[in-house]
Amino acid sequence: MEIEDLEIIDFFKLTLPLDSATPAQLESLITKTQVAYRRKGHILTTKPDFLYLVRKGAVLIEDENEELFSILGEHQWFGYNSQLLLYTHSCQEDTLYYRIDKKYFYELFSDNAVVENFFLDANLETSLKSQKLIKQNSLLTNSVLSMSRASDAYLVDKKTSIKQVAKLMTENTTTSVIVTDEDKLCGIVTDRAFCTKVVAMEVDTSSPISKIMTNNPLSIAHYKSGVEAMLLMANAHIRHLPIVKNKKVVGMITAADLLRKQSHNVVFLINEILVSDTTDELEEISKQVPLLLQHSYESNMDEHDITYSVSSVGRSINQQLLKQAEELLGQPPIDYAWVVAGSLARSEQIAHSDQDNLLILADDYQEELHEQYFIKLAKYVSDGLNACGYVYCPGDVMATNKKWRQSLSVWKSYFKQWITSPEPKALMYASIFFDLKCIYGEAQLLDDLLTNVFDMTTRNTIFQSHMAANALHYTPPLGFFRNFMLDKNGVNKKSLDLKKKGVVPIVDVARVYALSHGVRSINTQDRLRELSDVGGMSSSGANDLIEAYKFINSVRIKHQKRQIKLGQPADNFVLTEEISSLDKKHLKDAFGIVSDMQSAMSSRYQTSIL
């Protein structure tokens, strides 16, 4: 007398859809079945790895608002819909229940359409009921199979040659293929293997692919959720997971598939930007930027990461517009560098801001031959940026302005002019044009220009003094907490412009030191770190300034987070009552550091002699 005599077998036979199972399947199912008990009125903890079946008693499912979703009795299942696992399952009566290994269950019945459809239908029914939930949560709770793109899985037999696989991957622009042995998963090859194994180890490309594949890779069952796939990838440091059903490969889920499900994710946004074909599409995508910000704030991202993410999106939009323009206008007649200035160049953008851009053209530029092309190019990009929320620069520092669309030698003469005769206007330009980054085209053009510029700035002490004096224009409001120093316009009463009074002075100090010491970085924190490395600034001074910068920015971000939450446009004017007393104390210290650094700079560059 053994397992077939167990009462549980009789119970299974009377439970849909197990009535369609064979006796052998039922006995097999018993090996992965466990019996558990939960008393009345208590929460039943559910895990995603199991299917649950009520043997006796009643289970109550309630949604996040404690509204009744469903009551389950004998012979009824739960746990097959992973979305519902977020709901509260509690016992309305003392409950005896079975839990069955989900993976094993689906594999056991992979050939039984009745069983499969039973849960699919049940899923559909509960899905309709829980649409509200689906909307609120990320779609990552769907099954991996539904998330993967069919075209993502390329299967090759393990005997296929490396050369053939490389060809297949190139033709299909895929970064990975699954290697099978008689339809069963036996390995995976990513494009990296061609670099690390084929090239680095000089493997003969006519050898079978099995020679360079990763053996027995991790895989994921087709019914598992995206969350599980993500965790699996994160734990194993991998980006590709074959999807298996009954040991056969049915697809592939990649990190990119998962990211695509999170529309507020920066990688997703950039990905979308890079595949867009028109300005209209880009305009749609750029509307996501505030969402991205909100999400970044809510996930407590570091201020440096936030500004870096936002700047990356801005750069990608610039790049994509240029690509589109080139497709429209044809190949450029000569080399050019598309250069951005200001916060975007420094990777310090927080939200949409004005566009500052310029064109450096190669010295074989001939106005009569080439001008029309670059006028059109600049106009296309500038208009596109404006549509995407990066509005036209009020100071007209844009490549559409002929003055800022010049050949390398003209640019060199501009800088020579500004540096050798630093007039007020020149100094204003300097603060814009000393933070430059080439984001499209021939970067060497900008490099050549900067080599020339730094040669002058590091030697010209008079220019340095002027820059330093100019950098004292904005000073931190030391008296702020005693009696509020307001902006002269008086518009923002009892508020503090954290950008002008806090961030800009530090950015300016970092720039002055960088220019005089030939430090080519443009991100403020990078500049300060490198200055400390080359001895341009004491390491304690640099560190203090970095901390002050980070702290002021964090208060600024906190403020904007609050505004976004309230649905207001984000600005830099922080109300005094918004700042906690602890933050006030730190802010005072931070302003003190900035002020000290400004004085140090003032004496170091002898601004008093001007």
């Binding site: 007398m1 019996v35 558990a36 008990y37 008393r39």
Partner: protein, 228 residues
Amino acid sequence: MINHFLANYYRKKLLSNTHLPKSLYCYLSQPLVEGKNLIKDIEFLVLDFETTGLDASKEKIISIGYTVIKNLHVLPSTSRHILINPKQVLVEQNVAIHQLTDEELKSGLPLSSAIDKLLSQMVNRVIVVHFDKIEKSFLNQVCRKLYQINILPLVMLDTLKIERRKMQKTQQYTKPDGLRLFNLREKYNLPRYKAHNAMQDAISTAELFLAQVDYMGNKEAIKLRQLI
């Protein structure tokens, strides 16, 4: 077991005997589970004996049923029913209760092989029974007969005693038969099973044990000694 220390001492003493049969030696060579252990980490072997009567000195075991509890879940696939060839004709009364016939039992295992099998299942596990008098007395009687040892060192929990203690604590009154397995299962809203054999009764006892444990509160934190 109040005297965990003594039981372990006795176990070690028995181990020094060089003529132990292999199954007994294997069982005794593992220490008994200690009272400080959390029950969620313990494996339980839930047992039920069917016997020809109540008096262990005169009557015989005719079948042994058991199942395993691990992580506070019953594992039905571990359930087994071992029939024992009694080498004597059954009294009619027992046939009615157990639904086992002479014919079936004749195909059963010799007693010594059945006990070997049982001992191999008991290694590192805590025994759970309902009404420990039967299993304890018959098990000791068998060990005396087969191995010439008086008491088999073990840790045994009794679901009947667990329930009685609980009722004494809350000063509840119970009818004389209120502590029977069948009635207790009803009390905990456990299903009524048709079959009545040692294996199914072991499962019934196992489920009752899970219910009792769940009613004790945070079962993750319960230590073995709280149930002894």
